[in-house]
Point group: C2
Chain length 496, copies 2
């Protein structure tokens, strides 16, 4: 397919989305929520055929896919609830004061949708962060039409889900431009999509290189647009002395399971373990090594991911001072992973930025610090991360104020005595973090606050009640929580 | 001063700010609020000497400066109140459910400060959007140290206000790195400040060229950072037929006053008036012309602004199809403004992007549309704006659904039957808008929501109560509104 054709495909989808935005962006919250619920129902109607197609494309086990589908349906339905409940609109009203000099006008504000959104799904979550995943669900909840760029690694799955979304849009009687599915391969079409003037925001989940490229395209535009790219994270786990001492074997077993979960193909995979050298860390390292050795290799998402995993892992293993602790003892095929753990001194880690980069897959690097001062140095030198974990007793924590602060400075989610894999879908979740883990640390891609990525405030001054959106009108017909003259309330505006 | 010296100045201030951030970013909200209130008191203590210094530097009349100082103090105090009240933290809690499979962890989230903020104040608001202006007040409220790049056009004023801030920091007993004032001239030092790795966000109010340059620097960094630049807006005013018909003279008089207010040196100056050709628009144009002719030239902020005003105005006047309607009849001196209005057909306006750009000063272009369809085309072609105004009767509005939507698409604040000049400081205000009016349409620079520009969410998973910030701890000691298990409440978390 020629470049011209690519441009035409994108252009048609983008213009249809813009046309749809004029009506969809102004539909009541309840109508948007109905669409999300209908999409969930249509995906359910695809039945197990969807799971089988996806398993064949991604090598992911059916039980995992069944759970991921459940998560995807939960996301659609819980974002529908959040959309309708309307707290995310941040409705604010300051009433007029005509007696003041100068008179104070009536001013009201709420969030409105940005416009058509381009979504680049991830390969590692073919349901939950792909075609009808978190980005699509939150953009639709915000009132934005969506154009999905299908992921080549699960093209048929994506087509089936796209069909379900299209059916849902039709069943709701909405404008068909609300959703489009672009299936042509090649980077050029992705660029054309991001650069199209009708596109007003981008959601992306994938590699650092991919996310940075899309972000750069968005900034080259005449009108730059926000890009929410989730890119790269090594998710450091800090092993504090007393906790490590208390049960190094249990910690190692817990972390080995997290490292190898789903062939390590999670953005929150713990790729870095940081402890202070000594007998406890030695025991930890040995147990971890044994667990990794005993892990059976499993097929990764596709050959490219497996090749990339091995190449990046081997780069790290070849760096000065890095020693392999263990590799799975069963030889893997080309498409299978090969769980590996390695170790390096804190001093070598601090000097070598290469060791700070993500190896996507079941790999983790154990950093042996000389003492707690070096651990603090490591935490201070860390780049932005989606998560950071502290394995610590209450006593450890009491003596670690500076370390805790340094850790919190570089992450979006701070976990105590847990593993970073497993991202709960709830309003309190923050799945995001400082650069380079994402392009915008201020927004989450998981949980209903993700809706706010695709909206901006619009302020109404001196606007007659019937020109106002329902969310801001005097009577508060939607029963929203609104901040009226600086006080949160569900009351209507009283005139008198 | 050499480049090396510049770099040293910036480096020292940025490192001190980073050092201060470790403590300041973790102070209770009440302590940050106390600092803002102490700054207000210290500025008040400067008395009328501050006004006289500023008047001499900026040519702004004392009465205007007195009002602007009052606004600045109000901002500091009202942001202090908002900071302490804590709604902006967006505290969210989802409690654990250990009975679920898999168990649901306890997850909590709130906004935390980004880190040191660089502030580039504006020339046109030497108090309210400069040294202790909205950006500084909201960054300090968020918990971020601030480094102000003094504006050359009111350097002494800036030094006096900086002195007041430094006194306030000392009076509160806080780390002196919380605030720094960089006075060296030249663009290179501004670039060094934006590029410094310790700086985590930038606030800017000024020209399109300046804002874009700073935004580009921020994106060149190894770790790109958010830039909140308020850059350029022509603030279109749409004159709807029935409203125009009903009293063209009154409308013209009201708008002439807004166009010439403060020598037109407001970012919300109405630079574009859009009506439908006919006798009423003719009357409007004549009245507007007469009012402008009778306006006495006044001194602008500085020679550069006056030169720039004339040059940009003359560029527009030289464009094809543009006719001058009126210029002030009294000849202006070099530093004085020269209020001017011109007119052009809708067709010519649509074809000529040059006519869409801001002329900073008392200039406005009246666009005569052939009919309402052409007015809709003009609204659709409009770039992003801080404000857009509709002069309209209820009947006009009833027939203008598409126009209203197009207008709301391109602005941050939608005003009905008012003038855009005059930006109320309140929570409902949105002073921001789509590119190129600002670099980030999702955030306001006026009103307490401005605090949120300088913060990002941090999520705590499975975190012991005493490691949590007060805002998230079970007992809710701050009495905040928090969303607990999806419900807004001020209640503490019950265990049982």
């Amino acid at each position: 397919m020629s470049l011209q054709d690519h441009t035409t495909t994108v252009h048609q989808a983008a213009e249809a989305a813009w046309d749809a935005f004029a009506t969809y962006g102004r539909l009541p919250l309840s109508a948007r929520a109905a669409l999300l619920r209908t999409i969930a129902a249509q995906i359910e109607d695809l039945g197990d055929a969807l799971l089988h197609t996806c398993a064949a494309e991604t090598n992911l086990p059916e039980v995992r896919l069944r759970n991921e589908r459940a998560r995807t349906l939960f996301q659609l339905r819980s974002y529908a609830d959040a959309c309708e409940q309307g707290d995310w609109l941040e409705a604010r009203i300051d009433t007029a004061d005509t007696g003041r000099t100068p008179p104070k006008p009536d001013i009201r504000k709420l969030l409105v949708p940005l416009g058509p959104v381009a979504v680049f799904g991830s390969s590692n979550f073919p349901f939950a962060y792909s075609t009808a995943g978190g980005d699509t669900a939150s953009a639709l909840a915000a009132g934005c039409p969506v154009i999905v760029r299908a992921h080549f690694a699960h093209a048929q799955t994506s087509a089936m889900v796209a069909g379900a979304i299209e059916k849902a849009v039709a069943a709701c009687g909405f404008h068909p431009g609300i959703f489009a599915h672009i299936t042509e391969p090649g980077n050029e079409i992705g660029r054309a999509l991001v650069m199209h003037p009708r596109i007003k925001a981008v959601g992306f989940t994938g590699s650092l290189a991919g996310g940075k490229a899309i972000w750069a395209y968005a900034n080259e535009r005449r009108e730059p647009i926000p890009v929410f790219a989730e890119m790269s994270s090594v998710n450091p786990v800090y092993l504090l002395p007393q906790k490590l001492q208390s049960d190094p074997t249990a910690l190692a077993t817990q972390l080995a399971a997290s490292i190898t979960l789903g062939a390590g193909q999670f953005c929150t995979n713990p790729g870095l373990l940081i402890g202070i050298d000594g007998p406890a860390l030695q025991t930890f390292a040995e147990t971890l090594g044994q667990a990794i050795q005993q892990t059976l290799p499993v097929a990764m998402l596709h050959g490219g991911i497996a090749d990339n995993y091995r190449a990046k892992r081997d780069l790290v293993l070849a760096e000065q001072g890095v020693e392999t602790l263990a590799t799975a003892s069963v030889t893997a095929t080309d498409i299978q992973d090969m769980p590996t753990v390695a170790t390096v001194s804190g001093a070598a880690f601090l000097q070598n930025p290469q060791l700070h980069t993500e190896v996507f897959g079941p790999f983790s690097l154990l950093v042996r610090c000389a003492n707690s001062a070096e651990m603090l140095q490591v935490a201070t030198a860390m780049e932005g991360q989606l998560t950071a974990t502290m394995m610590a007793t209450e006593e450890d924590i009491k003596h670690s104020g500076a370390l805790t602060a340094a850790i919190q400075n570089h992450c979006g989610r701070f976990i105590v005595n847990g593993v970073p894999t497993g991202v709960e879908v709830c309003l309190s979740m923050h799945h995001g973090g400082p650069w380079p883990s994402t392009t915008d640390s201020r927004f989450t891609s998981v949980g209903a606050d993700a809706i706010k990525r695709f909206a901006r405030p619009l302020c109404f001054q001196n606007c007659p009640d019937r020109l106002l959106p329902d969310a801001l009108s005097d009577g508060n017909p939607l029963g929203l929580w609104r901040t009226v003259n600086n006080v949160l309330t569900q009351d209507p505006i009283a005139h008198g």
